[in-house]
Symmetry: C2
Subunit: 378 residues, 2 copies
């Protein structure tokens, strides 16, 4: 395609944001809720705990009966054995832990220190009052902690935003001697962003039932590059070519039934970069998640000059130095996907930028999304 036809990355992102809307909600069982997005506020119907409860295993007592107890003045008082979580028996207002009580075998215990009203007790509503806002609509059930909190409030199905259904078309044969990297990589990326990937060929992929169509490969100008023509014939091709390196052959359009369709370059590094900037954003927005890149971002100082071509937004892998500065790492053009694995993150060099001198401060994105590290080499 001619350079003049290419749109800017900013315009391509604006196209995405106009083309997708957050999906409707659905009810699901709690077991399937990890990673999902709440469709409405989570508020417990009853206080948590619903009544005053024992906080420890021990003996429920009336605290006033323990007044005056001491090491040289054991006091014997009426007590009801309770376990942590048991509702507090009527007429009691404290729980003496098992290890501080000497049961006498009847319904009384001896104690060597006084206890205060409320000791050893979880008060009704201490964790949450009835109707308290525990998680707001739009919150992601991102961690096992969230699942646990949710499960402690309700066992009923919960309303979450539906997961985007993403049709994946692998349109191009892989490069000579290489296996197809795009299918497994895109499947994992779609999963990461909350979508459900369904691989299928043209023309089945553009029938109704999908929220997004992704076509990988066949976007160039070669003999066998038919993706753009197929989308144009089956709906509309609205953008062809983005001023982005790697991966300027991306395309954007709709199928005849109005489903947004993105054409991603087949070269794996270009496919990855286009997915990250455009497709991932579309999937996260459909699923009710934030549109931003799912990486940590901070301003970093460049240790070595980074050069960039004016007129193209460039994604450049970087290495994080021990002193916190960054430097350019091998580029996608040099080592393909290996550049994305052997770097610590990347910078986005704007279309209008010629690059940055050493010492400049720029926004850097870091691949530290995975907190579970490999075992250190020993």
């Amino acid at each position: 395609m001619r350079a003049a036809e290419r749109v800017s990355v900013a315009d391509a992102i604006a196209w995405i944001d106009a083309a997708v809307r957050r999906l409707e909600s659905e009810e699901i069982a709690l077991d399937a809720a990890a990673g999902r997005v709440l469709a409405s506020d989570l508020r417990p119907a009853l206080p948590i705990p619903p009544v005053d409860c024992a906080a420890v295993d021990g003996y429920a007592v009336r605290a006033e009966a323990s007044l005056g107890a001491g090491a040289y003045n054991p006091i014997t008082l009426a007590a009801v054995p309770v376990e942590a979580g048991d509702p507090l028996p009527l007429g009691t207002d404290a729980v003496v832990p098992s290890q501080r009580a000497e049961p006498d075998g009847t319904d009384r215990i001896a104690i060597l220190e006084p206890t205060a009203p409320g000791a050893g007790i979880d008060r009704k509503g201490a964790m949450a009052a009835a109707g308290a806002l525990l998680l707001a609509a739009g919150a992601r059930l991102a961690s096992p902690r969230h699942i646990g909190l949710l499960a402690s409030i309700t066992a009923a199905p919960i309303g979450v935003v539906r997961r985007p259904r993403v049709r994946l078309v692998i349109a191009a044969t892989p490069r000579a001697g290489l296996a197809d990297a795009n299918r497994p990589m895109l499947t994992a990326l779609i999963e990461r962003d909350g979508g459900v990937a369904e691989e299928m060929p043209f023309p089945a992929a553009i029938e109704t039932g999908a929220d997004l169509v992704l076509v990988a490969g066949g976007t160039g100008e070669g003999r066998e590059d038919r993706s753009a023509a197929l989308l144009a014939a089956a709906g509309s091709l609205e953008i062809r070519g983005v001023a982005l390196a790697p991966g300027e052959t991306a395309g954007f359009g709709h199928t005849a039934n109005g489903t947004p369709a993105l054409l991603l370059p087949g070269s794996p590094a270009a496919c990855l970069v286009n997915y990250e900037l455009f497709a991932g954003r579309a999937i996260r927005r459909l699923g009710g998640l934030g549109a931003d890149l799912p990486y940590s971002r901070r301003i970093a100082t460049i240790a070595r000059k980074i050069v960039s071509a004016i007129g193209t937004t460039e994604i450049r892998p970087i290495r994080l130095l021990a002193d916190g500065r960054i430097e350019p790492a091998a580029s996608f053009a040099e080592t393909g996907l290996r550049a994305a694995v052997e770097s610590d993150g990347f910078v986005i060099l704007a279309e209008a930028s010629e690059g940055h001198p050493a010492g400049a401060q720029i926004i850097a994105y870091f691949y530290d999304e995975d907190r579970i590290r490999a075992e250190p080499a020993s």
Copy 2:
């Protein structure tokens, strides 16, 4: 249990580290490889690319035939149409991109500028030489990038460390009026740490076939607390009680067939904390992952005094302030699991510590493991 019987957190961790070993490896298909740990070095058998390839769609030429071409001196030369990824045809050494060539309909093109040998080409081995170390044994296939790199090298099954099989026993009924939070929370935690959770009751859970047995609940001294006695009868109970808050009733032992078994307190916040410190560590070590807590860790300044009881290691939720300092948030004792969701992380207050004054610097752990944020409220 008596306080004197309790072991320190450090001793409990040492018990875990002695009790588990990294599991053997297994061969799996690439589609199932996300998150797994490589059992051996990943080195491509052939160079990548295996031969010189076209890097762009265009025309393969002999560069020397283009010498002298210019805007006012178009040169017509022999050319072979190629697509990105095609092996370079014999006798050519550069690729002219489609948009810079004017085909004449035969096997020649006209160009307006000279091209250099190697232009538009991915050299054999540019991404990786044969035998180059791409990913080392022990590396985690943590991201879609890793999957893509792996897929571009091989479609064959790959050797990874086997996933730990974790038997999960929910031994206690939940607190009055509360649903069981532990089952879904522990299932999600085990999954996060690379394990496969299988819920089953005593005594089936302690039969052979598991790598770890986790029992949630029934660890206290109440009437219905039988977990410690059951483990002691079915194998050995080696530690009962850890000087940890929340959750001092944890237990550690082995089943009769030698499988490590951990008893986690049933109160959800205590269950979570014990899982994080002990069970998660065991599962990660079994699966070949790093033993460290899967959270980001940094030294932070405390904005408000944190008080702690000597003799017990305490896990205290914290809030991250806008200026980067931290302050104590609601404790697990106050709001249970809600404390883990409405905080930004936690600090570990050592057994020997009485706490820390404002201004002190301590290690803090942050719950930022999930980089995909909820959509900002609008």
